[in-house]
Each structure stands twice: as structure tokens, then as C-alpha cells.
Symmetry: C2
Subunit: 134 residues, 2 copies
Amino acid sequence: MDSETHSTRGADPAPGPTVRDHAASGPELPHPDRAGIDLSQVLFALSDPGRRAMVRQLQDGPLEAAACTPAGTDLPKATKSHMLKVLREAGVIRNLPNPQRRGRILTLRRDDLEARFPGLIDAVLSADSPSAGG
Amino acid sequence: MDSETHSTRGADPAPGPTVRDHAASGPELPHPDRAGIDLSQVLFALSDPGRRAMVRQLQDGPLEAAACTPAGTDLPKATKSHMLKVLREAGVIRNLPNPQRRGRILTLRRDDLEARFPGLIDAVLSADSPSAGG
DNA sequence: TCCATGGTTCGACAATAGTTGAACCATGGA
DNA sequence: TCCATGGTTCAACTATTGTCGAACCATGGA
């Protein structure tokens, strides 16, 4: 588990609420495992333009949470955190502590989504046209 | 959000034989045109298992509304009508008067959806597994 | 014309979701 | 150790959705 800094591919953390010696910053938040990803929750999470905007920013790879913002909006942090929570609990993104510095790393769970609902995430993300307006 | 109270009442107390164009049953409900179909609304409409169940029944072709019921549920008709409304207003289905008999005909707007959001509707419908449960 | 059928809409309420200030928490650096 | 940073959670509020009885409407048939 050394080296390989930001490629959390394949394995699901499936973190229990176990007693952990916190080496990394911030709490470890619960994520559904691949099989637990629910279609209704995913569709609902993606039904919001703001949440989709964040997801779109993760298409090219993981991002620090601080850098992931819908269109430079000065969104209150509580609001942003809530949006991320909806996406995370739906299984759309991973929200893990950044092992390097302060803050967190967001990742689109593309593999898991693709395995569970083939074609869905691509269809949604490529469907997003700016003219749609909502 | 209900500004669609477009009444066909007070039709014509006018004298003389008014030629009636459409001898179909029930009101003509508003549908978004293809370009007006909004991704957020579609995803939201499909984020409910009950609504998805109805959509799935329309995969093989149009159905009389009376025949389109999620799993034999004795759903109150107001509730069912509301579910259909959400799907219709999102542009997922068409809800037209039945020209033959009483009642209405429901159609999945597959072509429109496919044109607007390629692959999306198929991904959603084929993703639906019975294990999901919610 | 009256009635049953199939359906929409209204209205009221319950339940869920969104927003956001404030409190709190952990880390890294001075 | 104290502080700034980046972030989650709490709590309270608002807003949107869901549910469903009742009212209403149009049609077809007796």
C-alpha cells in the first residue's frame, strides 16, 4: 500500500466503524460497496444540476475537494458538503482523506457504476448539454 | 408548480352544429417537445422505483393507462395519475386520449429520449435489477 | 338522459430534501 | 501550543414531493 498515491481502483474500502488510528486527515465516511449501489439513489443524486457539475469535474480523475466546485460558486461549505454526501451515499463518488496534505480527495466511482449499471454514467455525463439549462 | 390548468370547458354553447375536431376522451395534457426535455427532470422522474416500473411496462409498446400498473398494486387513482404526470412532464412518456374507446394511451417516448440523451433510457431500464428493491 | 367507467385536478397533510449558520474536528505550520 | 485551513455534523428553517380522499370531467352505453 506504499507508493501508488492516488489510484484507489478496484478495491472498495468498505470501512467499518472500527477503532482506527487516524493517520490521515478527517473522518472516514461510509461508502456503499459496489453491490450496494442503488439505482434510485444514483438517479436521484444525478438529478441535480449542481451535483452533476461536481461529478463532471471528476471525469478526468480524482480531485481535491477544495478544487471541486460547481462553476466558481461561492457555495457555503455546509451546502457543498451536503451535496457531496448525497453523491457519496449514492455510491457515485468516493470521498477519502488526502494522505498527503490536509483536505480530501474526491473520485468518481466509474468502475463500480459501470459494473452495476452499464452505460449509465457515460450516458448521463455525455448527455449534459449546456443548452439544457437545468 | 401546477400552472397547467388549461381548461377545455365552456366549450361552445354557441348555436348551430359546431364541428368537433377531436372526438377523443379526456383532456389533452401538455407534453414538452423533444428539445424541451430536461435531463434533470428525466433523471428525477426515473429515480422512483414505482415510476420506473410503469415505464418498464411501456418498453414493448403503448399501453392503455388502465392496464399500466406497478405490480398489481391497488394504487389510489389520484396517486397513479400523479406519477404519470411526473413522467409526462419530464418527457418520459406520452399520455394521449384513446381515439377508440374511453381511457388513455401511454407511450414511452423512446425516440425523443434517445435523440436527446443517447443510451440513457436503455441504460436505466436494463439496469433495473429486482434485487435493488428501492 | 342517467349512470358507470377511467381519468384529471384540488386541497390538505405528511414526509423528504435543500440551505446554511454555527459548532466542532483534525492537520500542518508558525 | 495556537491558529488557519478544510471539512463534517448539528439544528432549524424553507421548499419541494408524495399521498390520497373528494370533486370534477368526458365518454359510451343502456
